[in-house]
């Protein structure tokens, strides 16, 4: 079973550490996304697993075989790892026709003519490129090139398929279409996909698991909704989710476990932990994380706010509300419009608000919130 195990992989470019002690296991037939801001090491990780880049240290297993080991001096070339790689810019060979692009690799792998022919038919059917086989890459649209690149990558039936931001060169509409196709392809080919992207929405919608990275280190490796609902730290909470989570700087004002009070510049909160056992110190600094959909707008109260700006997009409306100098983003379902500067109520009815340690960023507890408007003062 093509399970990929990466143990303690480190990659340095000169003095720059690109990846530090990476330890992940990618389960068989998974669709794992490496997600993170640019420069976080996700592409390097992908290239290390595929064999295009050699780690400075560590071990990599694919399907039980040790394909890289710094200590044992093993470094199998990509071809011997039985993997496919889909490049961001497709990397189609411009001087070869579509058919030649697909068959060149197979010829090199010593496939016989009949098998090659059969495979080309199969793939051109699967990816709907039958009538383009004689054309050259520069005669194809971006979406068509993309499909040819997929066909070429799938041709030798790789056990594992690596994809490096394959959709980033497509326009918005095509990207959504291809997203659906990739997800189908994953089921039809029955293989393991490892996918790199910086687009959190792509990662959320496609993957079975997301490996969220920052500065060469894994921040969280979990299912998409797990990351969304239980981020391990402030970075994960902020990176995943659109619109972005609201973060409020608070300090602990009262640390009695049964009656935790947190104050920000403008607001005074009661925090009731649901999970996590915070041992809070009075005066310690924290960040309070509120997902936009967990801020409900009401006709009146319990908290009075003002509409600062509103961004209706038809299906949903993003409303930015203001309490003194604190701005919060909220999402309302439906194309509602609010008058700017009108008064509006807000309620915090969820029990999934996050409390992060301000200095380390790590999650301390989740819980429910209420605001003492009287202490906080009038808006």
């Amino acid at each position: 079973m093509p399970e990929i195990i990466i143990k303690n992989a480190t990659k340095r470019f000169g003095n720059v550490v690109a990846i530090e002690n990476l330890d992940i296991t990618i389960e068989d037939k998974g669709f794992v996304t490496l997600l993170g801001p640019s420069g976080c090491g996700k592409t390097t990780t992908l290239r290390m697993i595929s064999g295009l880049e050699s780690p400075t240290d560590g071990d990599i297993y694919i399907d039980g075989n040790l394909v890289f080991s710094a200590s044992k001096g093993i470094d199998l070339p990509p071809a011997k790892r039985d993997v496919g790689f889909l490049f961001q810019n497709y990397a189609l060979w411009p001087h070869m026709t579509v058919e030649k692009n697909i068959t060149f690799g197979l010829e090199n792998l010593k496939w016989d003519k009949a098998d090659t022919r059969h495979r080309v038919d199969e793939l051109s059917d699967l990816l709907r490129i039958e009538d383009m086989l004689e054309r050259y890459p520069n005669e194809l649209s971006g979406g068509q090139q993309q499909r040819v690149a997929i066909a070429r990558t799938l041709a030798p039936n790789p056990k594992v398929l690596f994809m490096d931001e394959p959709l980033s060169n497509l326009d918005a509409k095509l990207r959504i279409e291809m997203r659906a196709e990739l997800k189908r392809l994953h089921l039809e080919t029955n293989s393991t996909f490892v996918y790199v992207t910086h687009d959190q929405l792509e990662a959320m919608t496609l993957s079975s698991r997301i490996c969220l990275m920052k500065e060469g280190r894994v921040q969280q490796y979990a299912a998409p909704l797990e990351i969304y609902n239980h981020p391990t730290n402030c970075f994960c909470a902020e990176f995943v989710g659109n619109p972005t989570i609201n973060l409020i700087d608070v300090a602990c004002y009262k640390d009695d476990p049964g009656d935790i009070r947190l104050v920000s510049e403008d607001l005074h909160f009661y925090f009731k932990p649901v999970s996590g056992l915070p041992t809070l110190r009075k005066g310690a600094k924290f960040l309070l994380g509120l997902r936009p959909e967990h801020i409900s707008l009401t006709e009146n109260g319990p908290i009075n706010t003002k509409v600062y700006s509103t961004l209706p997009s038809g299906m949903e409306t993003i409303v930015i509300i203001r309490i003194k100098e604190t701005y919060l983003t909220s999402v309302v379902f439906g194309g509602l419009d609010f008058k700017v500067d009108s008064e509006i109520g807000m309620s915090l009815s969820s029990d999934n608000y996050f409390l992060f340690d301000k200095s380390s960023g790590s999650l301390i507890a989740t819980g429910s919130l209420s605001v003492d408007q009287k202490v906080s003062g009038e808006t």
Binding site: S71, K72, G73, D75, F87, A91, P94, H95, R152
Partner: protein, 595 residues
């Protein structure tokens, strides 16, 4: 153990192996000779035994350093030529910049006519070997001081004064004309690519036209001008053929001619020291230039589309000026070629009567009373040997430099950012900084004796191939780096995934896709080698003569007809090949890195 594994893993990748091999080879061929030449300046050479009393060949001595810098004759041996060199180089810069700058401005910013034709004609003197114009100058203006008069005297009866016919004045004019295209290309390039918005933004802010030129245009062009000045200066400093042709009749010596004299004469120690001085100056200048070029990039002037710059209206001047420029350009480009052809049919130059014309210098069997009975060019076996040597040399140089350049490009781009790649990048560019003749002197010093497993190469054809390859590697490696860089790594990696071997990746993927760029890496060294004189002249021996060195010898002997015939041939080959390169690849020697 881990270290051994690591090295083994590294060496499994072809780019690492190539990088390592090239670093070793180029260190040996470029850096080591530099040490060798320093050593030679402290050594007693066999021809100097008479003067350095009580010494033996190979002894350590400071004699050369003392006599060159503080000795009794240092004024004549060194300081005067140095001064002449500086004077020539500075004046050449001035002429080249003013001429090139004016033409560049006229072509890019005014409504002058025949823009395309003017541009291509203006660049021609740069594509032609620099001594073409020097020979043409002699054909025109030579006076009876050295023998037969030139066309000018023959047609007008006016005797040209010596200062006009030989020495400083014609040298600077010819070099200035030769390097003006360089200024034209660099300054014109900046003017053309400069984002029109930069000037338009100033216009919208109500700045006057002159204020815009003074405060926007000139500051932006300035780094290009400075860098042109430096490159022209160092090129003019290392020019040999032009001062040799035009300066020697009146004993006007510059560093290169002095270097040639001393190395070929009794004082090789002086020669090596002069070469060393030239290398140091050249390297300094070009280092400063690299810094300037780096700064220029930060201006990022080539961002926008400069489609609608409003051109200056020349009004009434437009047609007369256009025609004047065109005639002027024809005079310095096409007319010289005609004089070569005409001269090669004349028994004695300066005599334009019909009976003075003959084809015997082309197909005659040779008459004992004319030029030592040398047979005509088409029947002369030495010419054929020279031609064969020239072609053979240039083909080999082009194949070697081109291939190594491609490998350099591959290794540098694949290992981009590593210390090794940066070192190789600089090392492969380094020969560009070395004045040709000084580089020849270096190789003379390095390979005159056996070095390790390499036997003494002096007098062999191999040393010519070697030096040509190394000298033109900068052209080829720039082309190689560009070609591989443009391709992007994914194209090759897509094939690696399928286990395509390195060789097959090069032959089936990389080279076919980048054939234009790769080809220019082969053709630029070929053209440069075909027209090269000063690089090879110290290293040829009678059996390895090439066309350009024969031309030089014929000229020294005063056999102008042969010299003219050969020059015509070389110029035609170089220009037509340049046209081919231009058509096939879009690259051109004039778009190279100059020199």
């Amino acid at each position: 153990m881990v270290a051994v594994h690591r090295v083994k893993t590294l060496l499994r990748k072809p780019e690492n192996v190539i990088l390592l091999c090239l670093l070793i080879i180029l260190t040996y061929l470029i850096l080591l000779p530099l040490f060798s030449i320093v050593g030679d300046t402290f050594k007693v050479h066999s021809s100097e035994l008479m003067r350095i009393k009580g010494s033996e060949t190979g002894d350590f001595t400071t004699y050369h350093w003392k006599s060159i810098f503080i000795g009794k004759y240092s004024r004549n041996i060194f300081y005067k030529p140095l001064f002449n060199t500086a004077l020539v180089a500075i004046t050449t810069c001035f002429i080249a910049i003013v001429l090139g700058g004016i033409f560049a401005w006229l072509v890019t910013r005014t409504d002058i006519q025949f823009k395309k034709l003017i541009s291509s004609l203006f660049i021609l003197p740069y594509i032609m070997p620099s001594w073409t114009l020097a020979m043409a100058w002699l054909n025109f203006f030579k006076n009876t001081y050295v023998g037969a008069p030139g066309f000018f005297t023959a047609l007008t009866g006016i005797q040209t004064p010596d200062w006009f016919a030989y020495g400083f004045f014609p040298i600077t004019v010819v070099l200035g004309l030769h390097y003006a295209p360089f200024a034209f290309i660099l300054i014109g390039g900046i003017l053309r690519n400069m984002d029109a918005n930069l000037e338009e933004a100033a216009q919208i802010l109500k700045a006057g036209r002159w204020r815009i030129i003074r405060r926007i245009t000139i500051p932006i062009v300035l780094p290009a001008v400075l860098s042109t000045i430096l490159l022209v200066f160092s090129s003019a400093m290392s020019a040999f053929a032009v001062p040799a042709f035009l300066g020697s009749p009146v004993r006007f010596q510059v560093l290169t001619t002095q270097l040639f004299r001393t190395l070929n004469g009794m004082s090789p120690g002086y020669g090596f020291l002069i070469a060393l001085v030239m290398i140091v100056i050249g390297a300094l200048i070009l280092t400063v230039n690299q810094i300037l070029v780096g700064k220029r990039k930060s201006f990022a002037t080539v961002t926008g589309k400069s489609s609608n710059i409003s051109l200056v209206n020349l009004k009434k001047l437009r047609t007369p000026l256009s025609i004047f420029l065109l005639v002027l350009l024809l005079l310095i480009t096409i007319v010289p070629l005609i004089t070569f052809a005409v001269e090669s049919f004349m028994v004695s130059s300066g005599n334009l009567t019909a009976e003075n014309f003959t084809t015997m210098f082309w197909n005659g069997e040779g008459r004992p009373d004319v030029l030592s009975g040398e047979p005509g060019i088409l029947r002369n076996k030495y010419i054929y040997i020279g031609l064969w040597n020239s072609v053979r040399l240039s083909v080999l140089v082009s194949l070697l430099a081109g291939s190594i350049g491609l490998l350099v490009g591959y290794a540098v781009v694949k290992k981009r950012g590593t210390v090794g790649a940066n070192t190789l990048d600089r090392l492969s560019f380094f020969p560009y900084l070395l004045p040709s003749m000084a580089f020849g002197a270096i190789y003379l010093s390095m390979f005159a004796v056996r070095r390790g497993f390499i036997p003494s190469l002096y007098g062999t054809f191999a040393i010519l191939v070697l030096i040509g390859t190394v000298k033109y590697l900068p052209f080829a490696s720039r082309a190689g780096i560009n070609a591989i860089f443009q391709l992007g790594r994914e194209i090759e990696e897509a094939a690696m995934i399928f286990g395509v071997s390195w060789w097959k990746r090069m032959v089936k993927i990389i080279i076919p896709i980048q054939k234009a760029g790769v080809l220019s890496g082969f053709l630029l060294p070929f053209i440069s080698s075909m027209r090269e004189l000063s690089l090879y002249i110290l290293l040829v021996t009678p059996s390895t003569k090439i066309l350009t060195t024969m031309l030089f010898q014929y000229n020294e002997k005063g056999w102008d007809q042969y010299a003219n015939a050969i020059i015509l041939f070389i110029v035609l080959v170089v220009i037509s090949l340049n046209l081919v390169v231009n058509k096939v690849t879009g690259a051109s020697i004039d778009k190279g890195i100059g020199g």
